[in-house]
Symmetry: none
Subunit: 213 residues, 4 copies
Amino acid sequence: MASAMEPSRKERERLQHRQEILSAALQLFAEKGFHNVSMQEIATAAQFATGTLYNFFPSKEDLFFELLVATADAGLDLILPVLEGTDDERDKLSLFIRSHERFAREQAVALRLYLLESRGWCLPGPKVEAKKKEIDARVTSRLSNVIAAGIRKGLFNDIDPVVAAKCLSAVLESLILVAAEDPQVVDLPANLEKVEAVFFRGLVNSSGDKRDA
Amino acid sequence: MASAMEPSRKERERLQHRQEILSAALQLFAEKGFHNVSMQEIATAAQFATGTLYNFFPSKEDLFFELLVATADAGLDLILPVLEGTDDERDKLSLFIRSHERFAREQAVALRLYLLESRGWCLPGPKVEAKKKEIDARVTSRLSNVIAAGIRKGLFNDIDPVVAAKCLSAVLESLILVAAEDPQVVDLPANLEKVEAVFFRGLVNSSGDKRDA
Amino acid sequence: MASAMEPSRKERERLQHRQEILSAALQLFAEKGFHNVSMQEIATAAQFATGTLYNFFPSKEDLFFELLVATADAGLDLILPVLEGTDDERDKLSLFIRSHERFAREQAVALRLYLLESRGWCLPGPKVEAKKKEIDARVTSRLSNVIAAGIRKGLFNDIDPVVAAKCLSAVLESLILVAAEDPQVVDLPANLEKVEAVFFRGLVNSSGDKRDA
Amino acid sequence: MASAMEPSRKERERLQHRQEILSAALQLFAEKGFHNVSMQEIATAAQFATGTLYNFFPSKEDLFFELLVATADAGLDLILPVLEGTDDERDKLSLFIRSHERFAREQAVALRLYLLESRGWCLPGPKVEAKKKEIDARVTSRLSNVIAAGIRKGLFNDIDPVVAAKCLSAVLESLILVAAEDPQVVDLPANLEKVEAVFFRGLVNSSGDKRDA
DNA sequence: CATGAATGAGACTTCATTCAT
DNA sequence: CATGAATGAAGTCTCATTCAT
């Protein structure tokens, strides 16, 4: 038994160390930005030697990229699923907006990384830039699909779905960002409700006509 | 006479040189980001020697700061005045939204600097960060005041003015950003109109009641 | 019995492993040079872990040294014996020259190591340098002895035997080197014959006088 | 006048500094080899800061390359010209061999660089390797042309001129190398004379027939 | 005020070597 | 003896800043 588990233990330890490095790097990158963090700093924070980082990641840029992918995927897994299903599109959007609260709460640090570094363009390289665009496209695509469906059903007013999606994203990201900077001052849930109110008033078709009906 | 004018000419020349440096730096910073531009590069682009830059700006960060202040002030002078006056608040917001087209057109480069570098936080230091917050506060303050006034007059629905202001800013900045990246693909004026439509539908009080009336 | 043999088997295995490491290292050193090969690389090629190498060799330099000694000895065993015996010195030299063909064929890789690394001086250290000189001295000594004997017998013209030996060595090494770089282009046997022709024309006493006779 | 000379003075100083760096680098490279010399070391030896080296040479490899080209050109200018002219080919070769004495005397350090590093193959890169081959080709070509001419005139025995050229080069380089290591022990002029004797005895057509005659 | 060569701290990265398992 | 993750010194190169002219 023990001998059968042994390779697994080493493997687990290695992953653990990898995680420690990623965690330290995330913290620092999110706090100070890619260019203001040195590999030395990350190594020290992760309680490893400099060279050890390179046993896990080929370069600083790769480390950052790994981080971006991981946080982006985790984040999208939190907010995109609510857009699936066959529910009422109004409910979907409502859930989507409210899901950002949990998003902001659970992944505060990762958010700084994603929203800020991935938005600024003092980026490590083209690889990161491409990933950033892919993520943006993924969100915009899903969101605009939902809005378009709502419009077809006559639930929403006839607005360019892509523009509406981008607007909603921009608003939500902006709010989260502000809240991430002053967590105790800004009341994110209340603000999200207000956003929902504003957005829905603009979007929802208050007249009775349902096109598809 | 001549001796009285001489210092003025020297002064003028000095300012001219200062402007040339700022101009070259703006171009480069906006294109490549703070950390990817060297003082050498700026000096070469401005057709000066490296050391000369330090006769005008104590450090790279100060040069960047100066740039941020200048471009921010110029930009705000373009979009904030339309919020003044005694007009109908609906007109003010409409003008404000549409003014961003000219803003994006006339200050495309400066915008990249302001929106991206000041938004990302691969920033040179706290001084820049403070200025960025000040600028944001200035816009949000004016905008929320206008919205609040509209609400008081019963023109707008009763929404948290600050949240509404931030939402609007976020949306506009996002649009401009996207348009700045693909000028020929994205039709900014059309999108601004759509934003106005969405926003106003959410904001404007379509019922006849005017609280103040 | 078994217990008496056991250490022998372990010993054999140990030597086997040692040989595998040496073999992998030889290949790599000869191909890329001492400074462009890492212990990691050698370990991987030898299918061992990094640390294992240090169970056999105290340092990278020692590993290289061991290699130099081994290949040099093997090489010298191939070309020096033909200089022994009581034959005609002209035959000895002729055999010596021709033996380089087999030398080049059988030990092509080792030759690159010996001729190039030991000749260039991007060398690991003084230990290696000393060994290199010792090897050179060994060849020169034997060769010059043969030539001196030939002169004494009146077979060769009266030339400084040491200089003649060094010249012959230099020529042969040069040829082998060139042939090692372009094996299919350079016809080593033919060139060796030509060298023999040139060298003998210069060396052999064509007049009939035999001093010792 | 002075103002006209000023740019020239700065230029002269810059070249002077460049020379100091090259000189220090030559010394160190020749002594310890490319891989065993650090830019720090060179900078210290040249009494400059590390970064200063990069104001003159884009990389360590480029610095080395510059050195190789300079020393090779200077060296070839010393030994190749004697192969020109319309003299007797025997005289040309004789001069060529003897010119190596001055070569070794005047450019002892550069020789180590050229003969050893360019011969070993722990080389900085393909650029250097290509230059090395070019140099070798240049010498071999000139030398073999002279020998071929001598053969056509019936001055020399009928030997493959390229092989003969390579042999002569190998011998001379070998001698110089040995002499460079132990200047006080090895009597280079005497050895060169002996080489000449050996070589000529092998090469020169002692029979009376002159083919062209 | 202009120049630009010089500076040197610091960044990223490699790799010979060690040691706990 | 085998393993291979960890180490950290050392290397190459960049660049903000200074200063003598």
